[in-house]
Symmetry: D2
Subunit: 296 residues, 4 copies
């Protein structure tokens, strides 16, 4: 959950252990013992060292305790979610990925996978959902269901480390390497200048559901959006379409365009594979041509 | 209707008048008198001269006869269509524009426009539907409903001339200036060569209905399609989306692409405003960039 | 002349008048009376206000004094230059534009223009040479020679204001609106990433002389140059060619290229018309294609 | 030499042997015995079969005769050339590659290579010069000088086969696979139409000499040149620059451009590695951007 103010590492290092555990409590799903173990390792030289201490506390625990911890995670789009029986972090994470608004068929698909997964491995499927779209969660689910139990248990711990890092990021200053960035700009190569006032809409595409609008913005005087299309968080791995209302832009410049115009709302469809990557997807356009590329 | 073999101008010039009228009968909707009048003007030096003679016969007729001729045309998406009560040409033309498959709401919209139009002008709305998509027929309908009666009657005769020209084109060799052309090619700028085997799909977009697939093709060794996406007919004025399965193409070349790939099925959306124009809409692509333009 | 350290406006406002005049002495060519007049107008709220005060002092002077001031400027590429008889600022400015290295024919052209200009107007031709290339100085010279005397005198005062502003910029913090910027970046659209290590060379082209190398750089990890190709000064109005050793770049990436490669050293030729503008001239390239545009 | 009219294969098949040998005499440099041997193999089913017969006649000859034949070829840019002592074909071929207009340093370089080559192999360096520019002849010369004698003798016979094919092509209808093609077109993506009236100039670049103008043309109504920039012959392997006077084109369209314009004469520099390939090098331009690619 977004807290009112992020803590500094210095504050965390100087708290008493109880306050530390209270502050970072939900960082590890239903398992404050991990936070308590890390508390004893203070002071930390960096937030990365804190993250590593939490990871080490899990890995150092007896297998039974690890297993119980893993088993304490909620199913994705599962009964706990519907019954309102999850930590606040889990609720926010699952909603953010669109898992709170699946069709009945979508729920059925998740339940079937959850059941098959639990039957095979004995614990719930854990994935860092903030790094994924609905489609890539399903693809990952199916891929991981085919893994062997030891490999899958290790994979689950790796995902937990990612979840922990993002939960730390909402509570502590200075978490690094957990955000991606999706940005754009529009260049009017008809007039040789940035294109201001272009309506831009980003939608997440899905094989198993309707597109979800992720951002609606307008380009500024530099032909850029004031904020990135996605920023300050991982990029959900998945497929996207960004549209640019370039016909309206050129009409507003007073150009005589045919009816209908050759170019009106230009769509760019692209995939994001690196959740922590930087994707720059510009549009260079005239009324009769355009180009795009993955830039930097 | 597509005839088994097109007649030559020489054949038309040398037939007796009855055969000529029989051959070109339905060219003018329910009005063989126009064809008979033109028969008397033979021989024609060109098919354009034949077309002009038909046009002149209409314009030279008394107003009552012109009015009766115009009134003899069927409504668009009207009761005649549903009752199977139109000339074969009209049936084919209206079906070609998708007017045989409107939703009930679509039919209702057309009926309301038909009624308003008949009330205002006293004759049915006539438009050369083969030059239009559903969207542009509706836009044209609304625009023309606002015209004065004399202007609209003249517009209707102009549309009839276009209909006649296209009906001639199915029966006679050498009709010119009535076809448009929509073509594409795919260039792989990663390897610097034409891209063969790319799946290409063209769809007509509509505000008032589902997209209609117009063509499904694959690029050949030259990166072109064996036939134009639309050819041998006018281009229906409207909005289109053509998609290129460029991700599958690059994967088949053995390139390692991320999952999901940055570019997979690339959509280009464009408008056609000139029914008799040549639109060339190519795709120049790498796995990380693409460009398109209206070419020639 | 580049001074050791720039003065702040506060320092200039608090100096005594003699120190102020000493500090800004050469700002107005051989005319400390202008600086003294401005000294009396202190304090200035901004460097722009100081510039305006210098401009006002000139405009407020009697015509004889204005004329003497204007006449006190050296000829371009003239005898004073060859005799080492100019202020240090003038020497640096003329050398920066390449006027110290003209061919004999070039000198002859300048002398002929200088003579014609002095004959017509009675004072030397004054232009802010740091805003110009050799070609644009000559083009400007010829254009201005055709003006009427009053218009030309006003034009000369306007150029002096630009010269003063740039001389202030070397001595005082906070001068604005006098710099342009020419930048580039190289994007490898074959691999979908910035292109590092590409040798970039910028040359000023000239009708009347050999190209002059202006900058030689290499792209960094972001595909950009560490510094702009031209920055911290006006862009000399003129024609340029920037070359990118893209063949060597792709060869170094291990790509098999034909011999000779399709693209090796790619030249972009462009004109700069706005001395204070921002020109961004990127290259997007594969081994088989490239694109450029005026970006921002 | 270009003959008044090309012979058909049927004519060649039906001539008597003496006429056949007279007709194709110089096809094999100073060696009519090869043509005579091929004459006995008639009739040929194709011109390729005729070419193969000439090749086979050489390969079937005793080594001494092969060696004498090879030795009968003139040096490149050698004394025979300067003394006017070569077959007409050789004169035309060497002149076509610019070998008749080398600088003294260029001649010296060729003489040194000729001498080294003759010292090592005992016969003159033979290369199909119509497939090469000055630069690529020199590069080839140096590469081949490093080969072993048997490999080099075989390479020389291969080059003779190419020379023979091109000489046949000037005399006989139906020679295939010996021509390349370099073409262009200019698309105005500012107006979305082909760009007519654009001055296009193609120059062959050289490390060891001045650029040679190869073609000067203007684009037609389709934005293409009426003839290819190079066609009906092999493309000389080498480096080229084609320029497009796009600034003048846009100015003529009435666009207000800055002075100097951002784009004026746009150069594209590219290499040709496949003498029999098809290189299409288009320009897509606005006043502020352009793109090019190897098309097809």
């Amino acid at each position: 959950m977004e807290s009112a103010r992020k803590l500094t590492l210095a504050e965390l290092n100087s708290m008493d252990a109880a306050a530390f555990t209270a502050a970072l409590g939900e960082v590890c799903e239903n398992a404050t013992w991990i936070v308590s173990a890390a508390a004893a390792r203070r002071p930390f030289a960096s937030v990365d060292a804190l993250r590593a201490a939490l990871r080490a506390a899990i890995r150092a625990a007896p297998v039974e305790r690890q297993t119980a911890f893993v088993a304490g995670h909620p199913d994705l789009a599962g009964k706990a979610a519907r019954a309102g029986d999850m930590t606040d972090d889990s609720v926010a994470e699952q909603a953010g990925a669109g898992l709170d608004s699946l069709t009945e068929a979508g729920y059925a698909r998740f339940h079937a996978l959850n059941d098959a997964y639990r039957r095979k491995f004995g614990f719930p499927f854990i994935v860092c959902v903030r790094r994924h779209s609905r489609d890539s969660i399903l693809a990952t689910f199916e891929r991981r269901l085919a893994q062997s139990a030891p490999v899958e248990f290790d994979t689950a711990l790796g995902e937990i480390d990612r979840i922990v890092a993002l939960r730390l990021d909402t509570r502590v200053e200075g978490v690094t390497g957990v955000h991606g960035r999706l940005s754009t700009h529009v260049l009017d190569t008809h007039l040789g200048q940035p294109a201001p006032g272009v309506a831009v809409e980003l939608r997440e595409l899905s094989d198993s559901g309707a597109p979800r609008v992720v951002a609606r913005m307008e380009t500024n005087a530099d032909g850029r959006t004031d904020a990135p299309l996605i920023g300050g968080r991982p990029l959900p791995i998945g497929r996207y379409e960004v549209t640019f209302a370039i016909g309206a832009y050129f009409a507003a410049r007073g150009l005589e365009l045919p009816e209908p115009p050759f170019l009106d709302v230009v769509p760019l469809r692209f995939g994001v594979a690196e959740a922590e990557g930087h994707y720059h997807v510009p549009l260079l356009a005239t009324p009769w041509s355009y180009a795009t590329y993955r830039g930097s």
